[in-house]
Symmetry: C2
Subunit: 194 residues, 2 copies
Amino acid sequence: MFFHFKDRFPKLNAYWDRYLPFQKRMEVPAKTVLLQEGKISQHYIFIEKGCVRTFFNNNGDDKTVQFFFENEGLSSFDSFVNNVPSSFTIETIEPSVIYLLPRQYVSQLMDELSHEPDFAQMILQMTARRQMHYINEFVSIIRDTPEQRYQLLLNERPHIIQRVPQHYIASYLGVSKVHLSRIKSKLAKGKSHF
Amino acid sequence: MFFHFKDRFPKLNAYWDRYLPFQKRMEVPAKTVLLQEGKISQHYIFIEKGCVRTFFNNNGDDKTVQFFFENEGLSSFDSFVNNVPSSFTIETIEPSVIYLLPRQYVSQLMDELSHEPDFAQMILQMTARRQMHYINEFVSIIRDTPEQRYQLLLNERPHIIQRVPQHYIASYLGVSKVHLSRIKSKLAKGKSHF
DNA sequence: CCGGGACGATAACATATGTTATCAAGTTCA
DNA sequence: TGAACTTGATAACATATGTTATCGTCCCGG
């Protein structure tokens, strides 16, 4: 769905910074659609402040796929790279400050990068990381119960639970919002009397 | 977890073929472990005949992650690229004919490839495809019921159902083998009287 | 040719999860 | 400020799914 090389490969920061002038800064309120499901992605999105989710519509209700926060970048990767309609909507959750870099500059940037001596190695590593992320999402959902998945979120990515409305989290976990509420109250009970 | 550029980008076949001599051919029975969970992946695996699954152990029982068939290639991608212990076991399901290409040659191959003019574009496309595959797995499991997922398999990847033992499919779908059996019999009833 | 193991179906019961409806509190905005 | 909307909790009921146990078939190796 996206890559973000900034900070991951410091030697690439110089390249990245060269493209800063082409990025368009925007301050937007919550629930702003940055890319509509069905449209073709034209920008790489970088989040300076705020948070964002990707989701798709399924018979009227959303299914959230992923959350993004400060200093993360994303695009609807398949749409962006292969010029096909996006399967996902990208929408802000909080009022946010974001930067948009048009696709043409990203292509240009990639071409420049490909002359770096160990470009192949870097891109493989980035790719491997991204793949592991999504494979882990899949693994977690066939391995863990929704309750365990919620606990994992609580332990490993607490910022999500703190900043994201509960029904988005529910659809991301693959359960109904009612059931997520049950899970929370069950965990609360387990903790309270000790 | 894997890439396979052969057939996807025909212009690369020449590169690939140059490395054929370094591949080791093996004929192995069913249930042969090609890579053990916890070991570091040393080979890229290509399947000439037979089929293979990747899985991990979870409290005694396996969880299957993916199936591979003739003319597909795989590795435990993260392990292979980043030289870390593999999270998965790779094991044959049927008696199979496979080729192993040691990692050093794969690195070499990638380096050669990186001189191709639109290497960046190709690798992005490959990456996007792989990402979409895993994202779709995730999306399907938060969107669809196990019954729907079984139907999808039946319609879109029937070879899996024909060739793979049912309990592997069950763990891949994220349900118990008992429940998969129930799903099958329910679907059979729906079909029989018409 | 026999015996064990792999595979799959089914039943019975316990638990998890979905659905619908209702209520309460907080937020937003005219 | 008041109405509408968003968010979240809870109850009650229906359904889906897990667990354990049993049985039958098939297949492979001694």
